[in-house]
Structure formats: structure tokens, C-alpha cells
């Protein structure tokens, strides 16, 4: 049984078929990438998997359980977390607090204990803050821990989102263009981080336009165009697919991508 099973999901927005009849699956510890031209439906697919939108057709299974259209906070309990292409930062909170919210499910206790400020409540808070600090170190933001998140640069915010998503200790992590706005060196750091997370057993679904990263890191690639799945396979299989080259890579990028896919 795969960790995530997507069968024939579709959704449209006032006539625009954003995602149509897409199926694929991911196993534990696997890295699956979704690529495709702008507007192909990648983010929309993510939104359906993570409970932001409810699919109009099809079904989604997480660890065997049917979770189609389940609200996001319940999916979070089942081990799914994500980052956003359009950043969703708690900008009035500090960087540390942003990550600490990721521990919400762990630290959430009785309301009464919170209102009365009981020691148990404070201990839980403290623990999640310590763990958050660890995560900030992992993404290289420990120096910014006390800053207001709104004051960070774009690239830093991207990494903050990853740290927050990791705080949930997810079984399945959805990353929407994590390397956008990062230069080649920074991208490599993120790539390493992702690989490391996958090694610990977390399955990763990745959307990214940086072909170098995608080709090197993915076990499996799903290609979307106009909402439909047009190809699927290993990196090497996908880069040689003519429709993929035509619709997405273009000639120049194909060359580069092929290089990375093969190594």
C-alpha cells in the first residue's frame, strides 16, 4: 500500500479545468516531483491534496484512509504538511513563534490549563520552542529567531516555511517551489535538506521549476499540462518525452536536465 494514493482527481474554476483526472501515488521515503508549465495545475493539485480545495471528482487516500476533501487541520493530524508558493507567513509573529506553531498538535492541551497558566501548559510551550530553535538551525535561520517574520527577505521566508512544515514531523511533505528565489548555492542547500528529510522516511511531493534540483533528487516525476497528466516516470524517462520537451523544458533546458537526470 502506498502512502498517498491519488485517483482521478479533477477540479475546475468557472470553466477552467485546472486539474483533470490526475492519478499517481507515493511511497514512504520517496521523493516525487510534479512539473509542468505555468498554470498546468500543480499548485491546484497541492491545494486539493492538502485540504485547501475539495476535489470535484476523484479520491485521495492517505495511508489507506480515504481523505478526499478532508479539512486541512485534520490532514495535519494524519501527518500531512506543506509549504506555499504564495508565502503564508504569520508576519506579525517572530520567526521562532512561526516555527513553534508547527508544534501546535503536540503542545495543544486543555484550554483551562492555558487560561490558568498551569505549569504543564508552560512546559509544553517551552519544549516546542526548544525544538523550533533546532529546526531554525537546520534551515540556517537561527540568527533571525527573534525577528519579526515580516521583516525577512523573500528567500529567508521560503526557508522559514520549510522549517514550520517540518515541525509537524510529517509523513508526507508537500513543497511548492521551495527553491524559488534562491540562487544555485542556496538551492543546493535546500536540496540537501530535502534529501535528508526523505531519508528519515518522510515522503515528499515536490513542485519545482529548477530542473537541476528536480532531476537530481526525484525518484519519480509526474508531468502536468493544462491540468492533465501527460507523462510520468523516472527523471531520465521524463526528460526524453517529446511532449514534455515541447510544453515545458524547451530545447535549452532539456540539455541541462538530461545531464542531471543521468547522473
Amino acid at each position: 500500500m502506498s502512502l498517498l494514493d491519488v485517483k482521478g482527481v479533477s477540479i475546475s474554476f468557472g470553466g477552467v479545468r485546472a486539474v483533470q483526472d490526475v492519478s499517481f501515488s507515493i511511497d514512504k521515503g520517496q521523493i516525487v516531483s510534479v512539473i509542468g508549465p505555468n498554470g498546468a495545475g500543480k499548485t491546484t493539485l497541492f491545494n486539493m491534496l492538502s485540504g485547501v480545495y475539495s476535489p470535484q471528482q476523484g479520491e485521495v487516500r492517505l495511508a489507506g484512509e480515504l481523505v478526499t476533501g478532508m479539512p486541512a487541520h485534520l490532514l495535519a493530524r494524519r501527518g500531512l504538511s506543506r509549504t506555499f508558493q504564495n508565502l503564508q507567513i504569520f508576519s506579525a509573529m517572530t520567526v521562532l513563534e512561526n516555527v513553534a506553531t508547527g508544534f501546535h498538535l503536540q503542545e495543544n492541551g486543555s484550554l483551562l490549563a492555558d487560561l490558568l497558566g498551569l505549569p504543564s501548559a508552560r512546559r509544553r510551550m517551552k519544549r516546542s520552542e526548544e525544538q523550533s530553535m533546532e529546526l531554525l538551525k537546520t534551515v540556517g535561520l537561527e540568527r533571525a529567531a527573534g525577528f519579526e517574520a515580516g521583516s525577512l527577505s523573500y528567500g529567508a521566508l521560503k526557508r522559514l516555511e520549510i522549517a514550520r512544515a517540518l515541525a509537524l514531523q510529517p509523513q508526507l511533505l508537500l513543497l511548492d517551489e521551495p527553491a524559488a528565489g534562491c540562487n544555485a548555492v542556496e538551492t543546493e542547500e535546500i536540496e540537501k535538506l530535502v534529501a535528508q528529510v526523505a531519508k528519515s522516511g518522510t515522503a515528499i511531493l515536490l513542485v519545482e521549476h529548477d530542473m537541476k534540483m528536480v532531476m537530481r533528487i526525484s525518484n519519480h516525476i509526474v508531468v502536468l499540462d493544462h491540468g492533465e497528466k501527460i507523462a510520468e516516470g523516472t527523471p531520465a524517462e521524463v526528460v526524453s518525452h517529446p511532449r514534455v520537451i515541447e510544453a515545458y523544458l524547451g530545447v535549452a533546458a532539456t540539455e541541462e536536465a538530461t545531464r542531471y537526470a543521468e547522473c
Binding site: F13, T43, N47, V52, F84, Q85, N86, Q88
Partner: protein
């Protein structure tokens, strides 16, 4: 039948009053996302200044023009002195500023003018017009026509003119507006002037029916705000529809159910509508992509 007709006409009259106030809200809201609670004071000023000038001997038309010009100027001042310096403040602060402004304007009016009730003659006399066994005053027709006219003008402004779109752009993304070359300060000043002028016009049209005094602003603002929200904030169509629906609801409830709870009924309906249409009747649901 004639009974129903009378309720309907009453509802239309009152609804047009609300619609006029609600329409005044739309421009400032569209330019800055601020619900300007001083909007009711513009309505008050329109009526009060006209009444004062008329009582001082000015012909009605002149008095009304004076009121509109003065009120528009006050709108610009409000923007320049209170809203602009507070740019970037959270919305709640802006609301408090507009409430502060409304208290200030009310206080000033009560001293410069007076605390009495006022009225001036209806534009086309007081002889009721008979419609299917019911009656309506000619002034009500003026109010209804005024609401329709302002609606059409605003609708054209926002959909057909570049300036109208610049107003929308300013509220939607101020930085982007600056980056395409929109003078956002000018746009804000213009919006306040227009909103104030519409408010004043509303005040002038309705005073022969509702009477006016220095303290009607808050009620007007509330009803207009409720109407605008019912219709969908920022959309002229919504303001017109919201106002008329609110007026009709009140009149029909007062007529058929209970005059004691007519305001309550209106609010229950607003709550019910918002339950099913959280953006009001014509509000645009803006897709916030993530």
C-alpha cells in the same frame, strides 16, 4: 392590494435613502478599504448646510450647491488632515479615526449651526401622487431618481474610466499603484471629495422627507453601512440593491409583522444573507491564491 402598494412605496422611499448613503461608502472603500464612519456626517452636513443657507435667504438651488461644495471640501480636509497622515495604520485605527472625525464634525456643527431639527421645502411640492390606491410624495421620486443616477454614474466611473480603475487599484495594492504611476494621494483626495459630495447630495434630497439635525449622522452611517454590506461592499450594484432591500424589508415588516421589530427583522435577514453569501449579494469573492 393598495395596502401592499403603500408598503412598497414606503419601502422604496426609505430604501432609496439608504441606497444613497450606501453608495457614498463605496468610493472611499474602493480607494482605501476603509469603511468611513464619518459618511453619515456628510449626509448630515448636506442637509444642515442647505437648511442654514436656505433659512438665511439663499435660493434652494444655490444653498444645495453650496452644501455640496463645502462638504466635498470637508471630505478633502478629512483625508488630508486625518487619513493621509495615518497611512499604513491598521484598519481598526482608521475606523477609529473616522469615528473620531464624525464626533468632531458633529460637535462642530452643533456649535456653528444648532441642535434643532430642520427641514426645507420639497423640490416639487407636497401633493401626493396616487399609484394604485397608494400615495407617494414627489420628493420620494427625487430621492429614488437621485439614487439611480448616482448608481449609474458610479458604475460607469468604476467600469468605464481609467481613473475609476485607478481608484480600485489604489485600494487593492498601493505599492503596485505607485509603480504604474498612479498618484495615490490625488486618488485618495478625489475619492473623499466624491464620497462627501454624494453624501451631501443624499442629505439634500432626503431632508424634506426625513428632516435633519446635527446628530442624524451615526444612524445614517449605520443604515448605509448595513445596506452596503448586505449588497456587497464596494460594488455600486450592491449598494443600490442593499439599500432598496433593506428599506423594503423594514416597510414590509412594519406593515405585515411588527413595527416594533422591523429593524430587528432587517438585521436577521442581513445575517441570513451573509450566512449563505459571506460576501453579500453582489460582493466579489476574491480568490486569494496560496
Amino acid at each position: 392590494m393598495s395596502e401592499f402598494m403603500q408598503f412598497l412605496l414606503s419601502g422604496l422611499t426609505v430604501g432609496a435613502v439608504y441606497a444613497l448613503v450606501a453608495l457614498g461608502f463605496t468610493i472611499i472603500y474602493n480607494a482605501s478599504d476603509v469603511a468611513n464612519f464619518a459618511q453619515g456626517e456628510f449626509v448630515m452636513l448636506g442637509g444642515m448646510i442647505t437648511a442654514a443657507a436656505y433659512a438665511a435667504g439663499a435660493p434652494l438651488l444655490l444653498a444645495a450647491t453650496l452644501a455640496i461644495v463645502l462638504t466635498a471640501a470637508i471630505g478633502i480636509l478629512l483625508n488630508k488632515l486625518a487619513i493621509e497622515p495615518a497611512r499604513g495604520a491598521p484598519v481598526a485605527s482608521l475606523i477609529i479615526i473616522t469615528i473620531g472625525a464624525s464626533i468632531f464634525i458633529r460637535g462642530l456643527t452643533q456649535i456653528l449651526l444648532d441642535k434643532e431639527l430642520h427641514r426645507f421645502p420639497a423640490f416639487s411640492g407636497d401633493d401626493p401622487i396616487h399609484v394604485l390606491g397608494a400615495t407617494i410624495l414627489p420628493q420620494s421620486l427625487w430621492v429614488i431618481a437621485g439614487a439611480l443616477l448616482v448608481f449609474v454614474a458610479l458604475w460607469l466611473f468604476f467600469t468605464r474610466t481609467l481613473t475609476g480603475r485607478a481608484v480600485l487599484a489604489t485600494a487593492n495594492n498601493r505599492i503596485a499603484a505607485l509603480l504604474v504611476g498612479i498618484n495615490t494621494r490625488y486618488i485618495m483626495a478625489l475619492s473623499f471629495a466624491l464620497s462627501a459630495a454624494i453624501g451631501a447630495l443624499a442629505g439634500i434630497l432626503i431632508t424634506p422627507i426625513t428632516l435633519t439635525s446635527y446628530d442624524i449622522g451615526m444612524t445614517m452611517a449605520l443604515k448605509g453601512f448595513a445596506a452596503a454590506m448586505l449588497g456587497g461592499m464596494g460594488n455600486p450594484k450592491g449598494a443600490l440593491a442593499g439599500g432598496l432591500v433593506l428599506g423594503l424589508l423594514e416597510a414590509l415588516t412594519a406593515g405585515y409583522l411588527s413595527s416594533q421589530y422591523k429593524d430587528a427583522a432587517a438585521f436577521v435577514v442581513i445575517l441570513a444573507v451573509l450566512f449563505f453569501m459571506p460576501q453579500g449579494m453582489f460582493g466579489r469573492k476574491v480568490a486569494e491564491r496560496v
